[in-house]
């Protein structure tokens, strides 16, 4: 198990380094000179030169790369050309927001998906089970921003129950935080919940046909008892895989919801930075996103080993 983690960490590092190279040199292909953009209209050549020197964009690319990449692991992302401020604390704020939003959404989604998916699997021949899988099929087909817009129209603009948008950190005013986080979390969770419901359903159906469930029933356990005691943990393994993939995709995928709900998360930071051609910020946000994805994979791998004793054998 130790070796397995070690290997994964090594993979993490290699993947990450390759990603920094890819991202850095890709971003250099951006048309438009950051100095020009920072200065805006009527920038004079002298001013441009001066600003380039200030940004360090007049140095060779390779120097710029190492300057940036070596700072990353230390949490030093450099100073933005556009905001002229240290990027790290800004990203830290955004990461917090994104993680809170996405993790809450995932928890809610799982809270929807596990019971409903299980129910739909157990009752897969009953109308109620078919109804649930039908609804989840529909849910999957709805873009989450559409869900977000509809939620705002109904609950904020129409009924006035909740604020339409905005973000309050939980530390500042927890009540307000909750009020504001409900709709975006619901928007994300409803669609994610539908996706996960499908996976839970098929995982549970798969498990239901396993021999050990029959064994459990032959011991005198009821259908549900057997499923809960023996099936769910087994079913959780494929569901965990999907959840981790979804979670990673959601951190950037939430950008659409961040836009709809005016939430200062990583996604909107990235979009704004792209709009401002804030190269360093773009690169850094991308690398943070990549790191989060890789960390999720790492954590999930550890979870697998905890969940599944067979993995230690290297299955």
């Amino acid at each position: 198990m130790g070796l397995r983690i070690l290997i994964n960490v090594a993979r993490f590092v290699v993947t990450y380094v390759v990603a920094t190279v890819a991202v850095f040199f890709f971003m250099r292909a951006i048309p438009g000179d950051p100095a020009q953009i920072a200065l805006g209209v009527n920038a004079t050549p002298e001013l441009l030169a001066k600003t380039r020197a200030e940004f360090g964009t007049d140095r060779p690319l390779i120097v710029q790369y190492f300057d940036w990449a070596l700072g990353l692991p230390l949490g030093d992302f450099g100073t933005s050309y556009v905001t002229r401020q240290d990027i790290s604390p800004l990203i830290a704020d955004r990461v917090q927001v994104s993680l809170i939003l996405v993790i809450m959404a995932m928890i809610v989604a799982l809270a929807i998906a596990v019971p409903f998916g299980t129910y739909a699997a157990v009752k897969h021949r009953n109308p109620s089970g078919i109804l649930i899988s039908g609804i989840s099929q529909l849910g999957v087909a709805i873009p989450n921003f559409l869900a977000g817009i509809l939620l705002v129209v109904v609950f904020a603009v129409g009924l006035g129950w909740l604020p339409a948008n905005g973000w309050t950190p939980p530390g500042a005013d927890f009540g307000d935080f909750l009020a504001r986080v409900i709709l975006p979390v619901l928007a994300l969770a409803s669609v994610q919940g539908a996706i996960l419901t499908r996976y839970v359903r098929s995982a549970v159906m798969e498990v239901m046909s396993e021999d050990y469930l029959r064994t459990a029933r032959s011991k005198g356990l009821g259908k549900m008892q057997a499923l809960v005691k023996h099936g769910l943990r087994n079913a959780s393994i494929p569901v965990l895989t999907v959840t981790s993939v979804q979670l990673a995709a959601l951190i950037i995928g939430a950008v659409v919801i961040e836009r709809v709900f005016v939430i200062p998360g990583l996604g909107s930071m990235l979009l704004d930075a792209v709009g401002n051609r804030d190269l360093l910020t773009v690169q850094s946000v991308v690398m943070v996103l990549v790191a989060i994805t890789l960390i999720i994979n790492l954590v999930v791998d550890v979870l697998y080993t905890i969940l599944d004793p067979r993995i230690r054998k290297g299955a």
């Binding site: 070796l3 021949r125 029959r214 032959s218 004793p309 067979r310």
Partner: protein, 584 residues
């Protein structure tokens, strides 16, 4: 069971029928059992044995439903109509079941001890969880698991197949059920382990006066375990009676066929195994005269197959010559770093096979038989040692050097379905060896060759246009053999070619193989864990254990007079119908 009368009635099944929407799977099933009865239920694959057992447990798969009546002692009313709630109280307490696949039948994520304890806590026969755990360890000890404490703490994958099956048995016996159902509990096990598990079942059942319903397709096992037999065919009981009576004097042709085909010690007038078709001429074993007659019969008929190669072996050159063959596999992922473990599949093997020999390789699961075959076929490279096949050195050979070898050596595999590409037509499958690089494609000639081979293995010519899934298991294995022989190899290696087949089909395939080896003058290397099969078809045998050859010699020497300790256990563990009946 406060009932002291051991012989009181236990189970009464009458007119049990199992149906799906479209089919009747089991019909007219009647069974009456007393306490302590040991009843065998035999029949071929798909005859409805498992369905019947499931119906008794009230665990029929979705889509299948039961009718009729099932009465279990101590429970008023018909179990067929009982609600799941009522059945829950019975399952695992008054009636327990052991399933065939010991790995998949246990929850892979739960420690074995807990799984055993669960059956007790579920029925609240113990007060506390701690006590259940303690009892679980005792039970594991009672099924003779070495180090039961450790076994209780282990996950299923950390136990061997036999150990897992013992754990299953411990579980089933935990609450002293009146009725124990065993559905092919030893099919997945090695012969030595099978013997142990069977003995254990018998012991435990006898000790507790438990009624046993034992399902199997292996007649010798039934002869070993049961005192009464039901023979099932196509969902119906075709014959019923005491074991001795049914096996020595079968009334129904199906029973006779089954007996004939599973008896590898008996051959017909032409020295071939009996098949269902030729069973009429078969003389069932008799209890009065167990040894002499059949044994003699087998000895008498065999020379037809054995004499010739024996003679050939002396003058002919060696076709296969293996020296100090070692193969080790790294285990765990081939990681970036870290010291991977090793499995020594072959630990220095040497043997020779002369042209025309029928060379058997026996040994238990994991002893390295398949690995050896793969190397012989040039599909795998030895770690060290030398392997000469038909004049080709395999060790260290390049892919193109092996082309020559592959024309001379072909393989037949165990799984008749898995060894045929499901998306290819039979014609393309059989013609595949003809398409080897360097050979020119002549489709008309190929067509002819394929048709010829189909004829040789007894399949109609139109079979060429069909897909593998449109054939039965035995037919599929014929296709496999046709493919192996189409390019007229010198050597045919077969890896458990009949292990996945029903007894009736097994006999046909073995006969076919035997005929073709003669017709095409092949050298045969035949791998099996089933001693009786090897004994029938081979003239020379090596016995493998843990990657080593522990003994080698002619079939007669090995079976008649095993010298090595392991060979002896192997020979003693394997069951033959006649011996089992004799030893009753």
């Amino acid at each position: 069971m406060a009932d002291n009368d051991v012989r009181s009635s236990l189970l009464d099944v009458s007119n049990l029928a199992i149906k799906t929407k479209t089919r009747t799977l089991v019909a007219d099933f009647n069974l009456s059992m007393k306490r302590g009865d040991r009843v065998g239920l035999i029949g071929e694959s798909g005859s409805g044995k498992s369905m019947t057992a499931s119906a008794l447990m009230g665990l029929l798969p979705e889509g299948a439903s039961a009718q009729g009546s099932i009465q279990l002692a101590g429970h008023p009313g018909n179990l067929v109509d009982a609600s799941d709630k009522e059945l829950q109280k019975i399952r695992g307490k008054d009636m327990a079941m052991v399933f065939q696949e010991p790995l998949t039948a246990l929850n892979p994520l739960m420690k074995v001890g807990r799984q055993v304890a669960e059956i007790m806590t579920t029925h609240k026969v113990v007060a506390t969880k701690a006590e259940a755990r303690k009892r679980a360890v005792e039970l594991l000890a009672s099924v003779k698991l070495p180090d039961p404490e450790r076994a209780a703490r282990a996950y299923p994958h950390q136990l061997s197949g036999g150990q897992r099956q013992r754990a299953m048995l411990a579980m089933a016996l935990a609450n002293d059920p009146g009725l124990l159902l065993c559905d092919e509990p030893t099919t997945a096990l090695d012969v030595t382990v099978q013997r142990q598990v069977l003995e254990l079942i018998q012991e435990s059942v006898a000790e507790r006066g438990t009624g046993l319903l034992f399902i199997t397709h292996d007649l010798s096992v039934v002869a070993n375990v049961c005192d009464r037999v039901l023979v099932m065919n196509n969902g119906r009981i075709v014959e019923e009676g005491s074991t001795a009576q049914v096996f020595s004097n079968p009334q129904h042709p199906y029973t006779r066929g089954l007996l004939a085909a599973s008896d590898l010690n008996a051959t017909d007038a032409e020295g071939r195994l009996f098949t269902v078709a030729s069973a009429a001429a078969y003389t069932p074993p008799t209890i009065e005269d167990p040894q002499a007659q059949p044994q003699a019969q087998a000895e008498a008929e065999k020379p037809a197959a054995t004499a010739a190669p024996q003679a050939a072996a002396e003058g002919n050159q060696l076709v296969i010559s293996v020296k100090d063959l070692v193969r080790t596999y790294p285990v765990g992922r081939t990681a970036l770093f870290g010291k991977p473990g090793e499995v020594q599949a072959l630990r220095g093997i040497s043997f020779d096979v002369a042209a025309g020999q029928r060379f058997g390789v026996v040994g238990e699961s994991g002893s390295g038989k398949s690995t050896l075959l793969r190397i012989l076929a040039g599909l795998d490279q030895p770690t060290s040692g030398s392997v000469q096949v038909a004049g080709n050195q395999i060790a260290g050979a390049k892919e193109k050097d092996l082309l020559q070898l592959r024309q001379q050596l072909q393989i037949v595999f165990q799984d008749p379905m898995g060894s045929l590409d499901p998306r290819m037509k039979v014609r393309d499958i059989i013609a595949e060896p003809l398409l080897a690089p360097g050979q020119k494609v002549d489709s008309a000639k190929h067509r002819r060759q394929v048709a010829e081979m189909l004829g040789a293995v007894g399949l109609p010519a139109e079979a060429a246009e069909r897909f593998p899934h449109q054939f039965s298991g035995g037919q599929r294995q014929r296709i496999s053999i046709a493919r192996a022989l189409v390019c007229q190899p010198k050597v045919l290696v077969a890896d458990e070619p009949v292990s996945a087949l029903d007894v009736s089909v097994r006999a046909q395939v073995l006969n076919l193989l035997s005929d073709l080896v003669d017709d095409y003058q092949l050298t045969l290397v035949f791998v099996s864990h089933d001693l009786s099969v090897v004994r029938y078809i081979c003239d020379n045998v090596v016995v493998m254990n843990h990657g080593q050859i522990v003994e080698s010699g002619t079939t007669e020497q090995i079976y008649g007079n095993p010298r090595h300790e392991y060979t002896r256990t192997l020979v003693n563990s394997s069951m033959s119908l006649r011996e089992e009946l004799a030893s009753r």
